[in-house]
């Protein structure tokens, strides 16, 4: 018996034109779905999605957060007032919903601002090194010596009490974290061959740093940014609780907690508990996402 071996085989020709396809070979999907691999991240994302929906659409469906009604003060949660009313008779639910927009945007803006500034400085320190690195690192050491909260407190006190100033102050307090993370990553990336390749391709040092090293040094900072967004909400609320930054009657969760705390002693727990719970849940949601993506590829 003899089977002729064809000279040109369709199988081989197909292989030659196809090229190599890693890592999902021939349509076999080896990855498990995201919910199986990172369940907490999915939980965090779902919670945040709800927050965002509430922040964007919520104010359309609830009443005015500033309308007072002394006759209806300090009512416990009911069908009319889901979260009850505060001592001025304002609807806690309406105030909490309106506050979501402010608190979330503050958290995200602070996280992005401090990440952008921090990683730009960090990549300069990590890529150029020598004395510039020394100077930048010692400065971050000084800033990190103060607890972030205290630093923000001092900055707001110096710059004056306004929402933009609070954002600037809190962002400034978080910048050193991003500087350190990006610098550490850039120090490693600097030794990679693609950096030499980029130099040989004619890139000037600043272009090597910002176009090649920076994008490859951002991963830890991106993870950190989700955590910072959570912390920033906590910090801003904490400052508001102390009466620094955002002031009553602005609907803001920290302000609401500050206003409601005295009521707890007299038994009206709902005025502080609901906004407080919303702060914790938002911070936790950011953390779930950040933690799960900590070490693994996005």
């Amino acid at each position: 018996m003899s089977t002729q071996v064809p000279d040109t085989d369709p199988l081989v020709d197909a292989a030659a034109t196809e090229g190599w396809i890693p890592p999902e070979i021939d349509g076999i999907v080896h990855r498990k779905s995201l919910i199986r691999r990172k369940p907490m991240a999915v939980v965090g994302a779902v919670i945040l999605l709800v927050y965002v929906l509430v922040a964007v659409l919520g104010p359309l469906f609830v009443g005015d957060p500033l309308t007072t009604d002394p006759s209806n003060a300090l009512q416990p949660p009911s069908g009319d007032n889901l979260f009850g009313t505060d001592k001025f008779g304002r609807d806690v639910f309406a105030r909490a919903v309106h506050a979501a927009r402010l608190d979330l945007s503050i958290g995200v803006v602070i996280a992005i601002a401090s990440m952008v500034i921090g990683s730009l400085i960090g990549v300069i320190a990590g890529y150029w090194g020598s004395w510039l690195d020394e100077v930048i690192m010692r400065l971050t050491d000084v800033i990190l010596a103060f607890p972030g909260f205290v630093l923000a407190l001092i900055l707001v006190a110096v710059m004056g009490n306004s929402i933009p100033n609070v954002v600037i102050a809190v962002a400034a307090a978080y910048i050193p974290y991003f500087i350190r993370l990006t610098r550490a990553e850039a120090l490693g990336q600097r030794e990679m061959e693609y950096v030499d390749g980029a130099r040989l391709a004619g890139n000037r040092p600043w272009r090597v740093a910002f176009r090649h090293v920076l994008p490859n040094s951002l991963r830890p900072s991106l993870v950190q940014a989700t955590l910072v967004a959570g912390w920033a909400i906590l910090t801003v609320a904490g400052l508001a609780f102390l009466g620094v930054g955002i002031r009553p009657p602005t609907p803001e969760w920290g302000v609401m907690v500050a206003e409601g705390t005295p009521d707890i002693i007299t038994g009206q727990w709902w005025t502080a508990l609901f906004p407080g719970g919303l702060i914790v849940l938002a911070a936790a949601a950011f953390h779930f996402i950040g933690d799960e993506f900590g070490g693994e590829p996005l």
Binding site: M1, S2, T3, V5, P6, D9, L11, V12, A15, A16, G19, W20, P22, I25, D26, G27, I28
Partner: protein, 292 residues
């Protein structure tokens, strides 16, 4: 594999050579399951049939790894590392074990064993670390030694020293050695017999002389060609495709045809020389026809 024999396991990256050796040693990561098969040393079955786990004794098998420096514990003096192996596996006393460790270090060609035994791995060169690894592996006088790319990370002149050492030790202790490597020339120098692996399948087995002088599997021929001359341009540069049924080399093989969709059997091509390819079946039937 016989006593005092050196067997080579050859293949490119991703061919499953390291996994095969880890499986033999019972060191597979928990995620990978040993489907079936058996490992026997001096007629004792090492694979537990109920759990599928490999039960191994230090006196039976030992292994040396590719990166000698990272295979040693960086926080322990190397003398202590070797003597611990003896204390744990042979039940020797501490002093006795230390004496034996010194003797082993001398054995693997380290002069000034006492000084080296007091050193930490980072104070030793790569070649020296590999000698220490070998001393540790041989401390319990195993019957089988597995060397996984043991010289790849070393310079050629040091590699030659280690090859020499392994050969001398084999002649002396009569233990069997499995050399796992991607370097066919190293196999040619070191080994009595060899197996060629691709995509987790054995492609060809035989004595080193037979396989290298009369390569029968297209993959072996391709590997040899790639060293000596230009390779067949039809053999595309592709990764190992595990999703394929049948012959694992089928998607790169210039001679692949319909039959290759099935799993080819091992076909004898000479005394103790077999290859897994359908072409050989046809050829042998041709040969029979011609001799008529």
């Amino acid at each position: 594999m016989g006593e005092g024999e050196i067997v080579g396991l050859v293949g490119e990256s991703g061919s499953g050579k390291t996994i095969a050796s880890l499986a033999i040693m019972g060191l597979l990561p928990a995620a990978i399951e040993l489907r079936d098969g058996s490992v026997r040393v001096e007629a004792r079955e090492l694979v537990d049939p109920t759990t599928g786990r490999v039960e191994r004794r230090a006196q039976e098998m030992a292994m040396i790894f590719q990166q000698p420096r990272s295979a040693l514990n960086p926080t322990m003096r190397v003398g202590n590392q070797i003597s611990r192996v003896l204390v744990l596996n042979q039940g020797l006393g501490r002093g006795e074990a230390m004496e034996e460790a010194m003797a082993m270090l001398g054995h693997v060609g380290i002069s000034g064993a006492r000084r080296v035994a007091r050193a930490y791995p980072h104070q030793l060169s790569g070649g020296m670390c590999q000698r220490v690894m070998i001393a540790m592996a041989l401390a319990c006088r195993p019957r089988v030694l597995i060397a996984d790319e043991a010289t790849t990370a070393l310079d050629v002149t040091v590699q030659a020293q280690i090859f020499d050492l392994i050969r001398d030790l084999v002649a002396e202790t009569r233990c069997g050695v499995v050399v796992i490597t991607h370097d066919l020339a190293a196999v040619s120098e070191m080994c009595d017999s060899m197996a060629v692996l691709y995509g987790g399948q054995v492609m060809e087995v035989g004595t080193t002389v037979d396989v290298l002088e009369n390569p029968s599997h297209p993959y072996t021929r391709f590997l040899l060609d790639s060293i000596e001359r230009e390779v067949d341009p039809r053999v595309e540069e592709r990764g190992v495709n595990f999703a394929l049924a049948g012959c694992r080399f089928g998607h790169r093989c210039p001679h692949a045809y319909e039959a290759c969709a099935a799993f080819p059997p091992m076909i004898p091509v000479g005394r103790g020389h077999t290859a897994s390819c359908f072409l050989l079946q046809d050829e042998s039937s041709h040969a029979v026809a011609r001799t008529d």
